[in-house]
């Protein structure tokens, strides 16, 4: 466990008066200042605004006013979230010319309403098109557990900031794996809720058909508290389908009692290293999972997710690509252009496939409550790695880090990523996807709680 206070410990300490919000914030600021030159998780900080907010929280407690569930918890956000009076970079150079945001993103507003304190914005792959956070404009984010290795992406700063102990809570986005991949490689908890669960208003888009928002945390209970605080309907966001809040925190301690837990085979074994399969086996042993389950049409789903992402992403940026292609990220600009040129027939077939695919995936959950799979094929590669070898097959490294996440998010299922530490990785973590049926985040979090209680899933102190 971390020597720093975890999210839940901080929330409880502030609530009880054992620690002030100002003290929790200063500890976070000191850690950021001591480590971020090496990690490069942050692209912007707002310490003075955070100090004012912490003072307000402490004044409320002094007056005996009720505090929110996350009162005094420092947090940071991927820099595609709008922060009032700041330019939303979305990892790009091009967006620097945009006007500042006028209001905070909805999820920032909700966390602040719960008392959490925003300290800054975090590095990412440009326009969220990548799995490695090797950002040429702002520098790569380094994995806190092994500097010189990737933190994953596209929410790499979000994963690394939690793993480095800089903040106990961050927000990110996940289109094809951009929360689950950095959570896996950095060894922290992550949640990608059901597609359409949370408001996306006030964030810079990548692929409207696939974009999700979610969170990273250094403990499972804190992740659940955060998820509860972020929920709520949003009639102004056409992509937010949830009309009620379905809290999960109180049901966590039920664990996996009565749940049917399976292990995903097929694609999810073939595209995983021995270490990644070992992580799933360890989690499965704790959760009583004995049966192997075949997820339907995983290869086709990954193909369809790839095509839809390229097409929508390329089309979104087409005007900028016409005029400013030279200012784009060199590692992804050619993929954006290729996406903009894809035949419409490819895109439309992928969207038609998605509907049929959804029905097959949902049918799977008639027999299972929770399914387990690796989040990444391997542990964190070195920054600059071009090729991966997985079970004797050679794959391009950057797009392939999402091989195991894309089929799942394409169906829209909620996933909790649990941090495991298997053998054969030189001490690096690999996450396990804990997958549930759409709208059943509670089941994935309950299974995560069992993994945390057993100790098989845990956040470890980095050697920074």
């Amino acid at each position: 466990m971390s020597m720093h206070s975890t999210l839940l410990q901080t929330a409880r300490a502030v609530a009880s008066g054992e620690q002030s919000a100002a003290e929790a914030l200063e500890a976070s600021i000191a850690r950021i200042e001591a480590t971020d030159a090496r990690v490069n998780a942050f692209t912007g900080t707002r310490f003075e605004a955070a100090r004012l907010q912490a003072q307000r929280v402490d004044a409320m407690r002094t007056r005996g006013e009720p505090l929110g569930a996350l009162a005094g918890v420092p947090f940071a956000v991927k820099n595609l979230f709008d922060i009032a009076d700041e330019v939303t970079l979305a990892g790009s150079k091009v967006n620097r010319a945009n006007p500042p945001a006028t209001t905070d993103a909805v999820l920032i507003q909700r966390l602040q309403a719960a008392g959490a304190i925003l300290v800054g914005s975090l590095n990412m792959d440009e326009y969220a098109y990548g799995f490695t956070t090797e950002n040429t404009h702002y520098g790569p984010t380094h994995n806190p557990h092994k500097l010189g290795h990737i933190a994953g992406g596209s929410s790499g700063g979000s994963g690394a900031a939690v793993a480095a102990g800089q903040v106990p809570l961050t927000l990110g986005s996940d289109t094809n794996g951009s929360i689950r991949v950095p959570a896996s490689l950095c060894g922290v908890w992550g949640i990608k809720p059901t597609f359409g669960r949370l408001s996306r208003r006030g964030t810079y888009p990548f692929v409207d058909s696939l974009d999700h928002l979610g969170a990273f945390a250094d403990d499972l209970g804190g992740l659940a508290l955060t998820y509860d605080a972020m929920q709520g309907s949003d009639p102004l966001d056409p992509g937010c389908f949830a009309t009620t809040v379905q809290p999960v925190s109180r049901s966590l301690a039920k664990g996996v009692d009565g749940l049917r837990v399976g292990l995903l085979g097929g694609w999810f074994e073939e595209m995983a290293s021995d270490a990644a399969r070992g992580a799933v086996a360890s989690a499965g042993a704790v959760l009583g999972a004995n049966s192997t389950v075949v997820w339907p049409d995983a290869a086709q789903a990954r193909a369809a997710a790839f095509i839809i992402s390229a097409s929508e992403g390329g089309a979104l940026h087409l005007q900028r690509l016409r005029m400013q292609a030279a200012d784009f990220e060199p590692l992804s600009v050619d993929r954006f252009i290729a996406g903009a040129l894809q035949p419409a027939a490819w895109y439309l077939r992928a969207q038609r496939f998605r509907r049929a695919y959804r029905d097959k995936v949902n049918a799977l959950f008639r027999d299972w409550d929770v399914l387990l799979a690796p989040a990444t094929p391997v542990a964190a590669p070195a920054i600059g790695t071009e090729w991966l070898e997985i079970n004797g097959q050679r794959f391009p490294c950057r797009p392939s880090m999402g091989l195991l996440t894309q089929p799942v998010s394409f169906a829209g299922c909620p996933v909790v990523t649990a941090p495991l530490w298997p053998d054969g990785t030189d001490g690096l973590p690999i996450g396990v996807q804990v997958i549930a049926a759409p709208w059943r985040e509670d089941l994935a979090l309950r299974a995560g709680w069992s993994l945390a209680q057993s100790g098989v899933a845990q956040v470890r102190e980095s050697a920074l």
Binding site: I337, A340, Q342, R352, R355
Partner: protein, 68 residues
């Protein structure tokens, strides 16, 4: 598509959408599109009936049950 066919497609479609491309960049883009075409072939081989509609992307207004 062959590599040459993909490159010609990239050059022609870039003109169609008004996207200037230098020769070297066109080749790199074609290499990406060539890899994606393999994925498109995989989906093309997947059996889909004519009645399989698109996943929902548009709703004119929230549906209200009981309103004629």
């Amino acid at each position: 598509m062959t590599e040459d066919e993909t490159l010609r497609y990239v050059q022609a479609s870039a003109v169609a959408v008004g996207l200037p491309l230098e020769a070297t960049q066109a080749k790199r883009v074609a290499a990406h599109l060539q890899r994606t075409s393999v994925l498109a072939d995989l989906l093309d081989a997947f059996p889909l009936g004519d009645a399989e509609e698109l996943a929902e992307i548009y709703c004119p207004a929230p549906y209200r049950a009981g309103v004629a």
